[in-house]
């Protein structure tokens, strides 16, 4: 079972035991502060964390870049236009349909795609979409996984068997195939108000796919926690079940939650890219890194930069989240074994 315990609990227990004989206790260091200290020592994790923040900031600045630097919107084509490169006017898309490569100047910095759209502008807007979808999907996954995991682990019995079976059902679908199925469903019929080419659709799809991967470990951890003394104490004080779940269990799950967030975020961005690549994610003309790579692959070998640019951005973004998340996990609980299976 993949579980984490609260950060540094074993550590502080042994610390207390060690100082009992000394008569007086030194000023305590909280588990979060200890984790922070460990994280600050991990320079690699910090570097990649900073890289991720940089990518997020760049993507958020997409409209500024489009308006003041590139002077073109993400979906504005310009097939017949020209751009001045090194004092010479050049076609954005050649007569044979080959788009211009990177110009390394404000207009068409990374070149154009087959429709004469600015790759750099689309890269930033696409990143915004990918990150937004990833973030919303992560929130969906975490909220539902915590809800079901805590409920199943706390009440056990009938609740547990129903929820566990339901999670097993979702888990049995391969992630990409389930995403694709749901994407197709929303594209053909829609479920209730969720319909069509709405940007939230891929976020909901991706969010649902990862619920069991988080809910199962949460359930396991709640099952262990509910047998501990502090839960008995809370019950003695007359706390209701709901109060115990919110004010006793949830804080003890916080390190698990913190560790899972980057893991889910990274996987959600990857899955969104995969779904968009297959046509079941972000719908054109809206850009996302997945759709951009997919468009670029269609134009191999002429305009390989259109695959390379969004691809490198995607890998850098996902890798920075993964490495930072790995450092975070080490810092919070060096013995933790949280992982996500595909």
């Amino acid at each position: 079972m993949a579980t984490t315990s609260a950060p540094g609990t074993e550590f502080s227990d042994s610390l207390d035991a060690g100082f009992e004989d000394a008569g007086e206790l030194p000023a305590g260091t909280g588990p979060w502060r200890l984790a922070m200290r460990r994280l600050r020592r991990n320079k690699v994790a910090l570097f990649f964390g900073a890289l991720f923040v940089l990518i997020v900031v760049l993507c958020l600045l997409a409209p500024v870049y489009a308006k003041h630097v590139a002077h073109i919107g993400p979906n504005t084509g310009n097939i017949t236009g020209t751009v001045k490169v090194g004092g010479k006017e050049e076609n954005i898309v050649s007569f044979t349909g080959i788009p211009i490569g990177p110009t390394w100047q404000s207009r068409y910095f990374f070149g154009a795609d087959g429709n004469g759209r600015d790759t750099a502008v689309r890269l930033l807007y696409g990143g915004r979409n990918s990150l937004e979808i990833g973030a919303v999907a992560t929130v969906i996954t975490m909220v539902f996984a915590l809800f079901f995991g805590v409920l199943a682990g706390f009440y056990r019995g009938a609740w547990d068997s129903v929820i566990t079976r339901a999670l097993d059902v979702v888990w049995a679908y391969p992630a990409v195939l389930l995403g694709v199925t749901l994407g197709t469903v929303f594209a053909t019929g829609g479920v209730g108000p969720i319909h069509g080419t709405f940007l939230l659709v891929p976020a909901i799809v991706v969010g649902i796919v990862y619920i069991p991967y988080v809910a199962k470990p949460v359930r396991g951890q709640v099952m262990q926690l509910r047998e501990r003394e502090f839960i008995d104490a809370a019950r003695q004080q007359g706390l209701s079940n709901r109060q115990i779940m919110f004010s006793e269990l949830l804080p003890n799950l916080s390190s698990t939650i913190v560790v899972f967030i980057p893991l889910i975020l990274a996987n959600a961005i990857l899955l969104e890219a995969g779904l968009s690549f297959l046509g079941a994610g972000v719908q054109p003309p809206a850009p996302s890194w997945g759709t951009m790579i997919s468009d670029g692959i269609a134009s191999i070998p002429e305009a390989f930069s259109n695959v390379l640019v969004p691809g490198i951005m995607l890998v850098l973004c996902v890798m920075s989240i993964n490495i930072f998340g790995d450092g975070l996990r080490d810092a919070l609980d060096p013995r933790a074994k949280v992982r996500i299976a595909h």
Binding site: V176, L177, T181, G189, L270, L314, V315, R339, H342
Partner: protein, 313 residues
């Protein structure tokens, strides 16, 4: 023990039943299928003809039973292309199996080597470099890696073909050459993931009593690693491998198959998605999910045979 086996199989059957109902409801009973198939300018009579032809006018449970019957008797036909879905799946199977077993072999061996090396050198530079490489591996989407390999090793260097699948019976050497890049592409992600899992399992096992005993009785580090530590640490890896193979064979390698144009089960699924053709998606998803559930049940039962403590929970 027999009680555990019966219970585990029973719960697998319930999950499979739920999967079939859920997939059916999502894909077929959702939205107006007949109107969608008839097209935008269809008359009411045309829509009605389609409803009768495919049985959309029947009660939903009758539709469900008929659909399941069609799948398991091999009579499931695609609505839009008219092809027999199971024949198509069978045609795609050789390519998918070649991809799955070749890649599965590569990623299992490679991740054992990488994971063991990282664990033995835990905390040192080798470990740190392998960690970053593993992280890079799990961050690479297969279609992007595939595009890079095709461009540089296919178009530029002209070493490997640009895609496609050649039957083993047609030409074993061409079969091999066409599969090298897909194997690598599919393996990279799994190597990154498995080696991390193996590394942490080994580091846990090293602290077990039986490993200390093995050291105490005078075995060399290498012997302890091979005979005791590794043997125990491989259990989770092997069970993960079984489940992942089930997914890959059932079309889970959809991205790799699409980018290399392998015409396997996954690519058939991808094409059906592009055409919004629901029956093939339904069949492939249901069969794959069934395979995963069954393998998971088998893994649990094998574990219970090996380790009596598991049966209690």
């Amino acid at each position: 023990m027999s009680r555990f086996v019966v219970r585990r199989i029973f719960s697998a059957l319930i999950v499979m039943f739920a999967i079939s109902i859920l997939t059916f409801l999502l894909l077929l009973a959702n939205g107006n299928q007949a109107a969608r198939l008839a097209g935008r300018n269809a008359t009411a009579a045309q829509v009605h003809t389609i409803e009768v032809k495919y049985g959309f006018n029947k009660p939903i449970y009758v539709q469900y039973v008929n659909t399941m019957k069609n799948i398991f008797t091999g009579q499931a036909y695609s609505y839009t292309q008219g092809v027999n879905v199971l024949t198509e799946v069978k045609q795609g199977l050789p390519a998918t199996l070649s991809l799955a077993f070749g890649a599965g072999f590569i990623w299992l061996i490679a991740s054992i080597i990488v994971g063991t090396l990282a664990a033995v050198r835990a905390g040192r530079y080798t470990d740190r470099i392998l960690t970053v490489l593993a992280m890079l591996g799990v961050s690479f989407p297969p279609f992007f890696l595939g595009a890079i390999l095709i461009y540089f090793l296919g178009y530029q260097a002209n070493i490997f073909p640009l895609g496609g699948y050649v039957k083993f019976t047609t030409s074993p050497s061409q079969w091999f050459v066409h599969l090298v890049l897909p194997w690598i592409t599919l393996s990279v992600l799994f190597i990154g993931f498995y080696s991390r899992v193996l590394r942490s399992t080994i580091l846990d096992t090293v602290n077990e009593d039986f490993v200390r005993t093995a050291h105490a009785k005078g075995l060399s580090d290498r012997q302890v690693l091979a005979r005791h530590t590794l043997r125990n640490s491989l259990i989770p890896i092997i069970s993960l491998w079984g489940l992942d193979m089930a997914q890959v064979i059932g079309g889970g390698a959809i991205l790799t198959e699409s980018v290399y144009n392998l015409h396997g089960v996954g690519q058939f699924a991808a094409q059906s998605i592009a055409n919004l053709d629901v029956i093939p998606i339904l069949v492939i998803v249901i069969l794959t999910a069934f395979a995963v559930v069954l393998l998971a049940a088998i893994v649990d039962i094998v574990y219970a045979f090996l380790d009596p403590r598991i049966r209690l929970t």
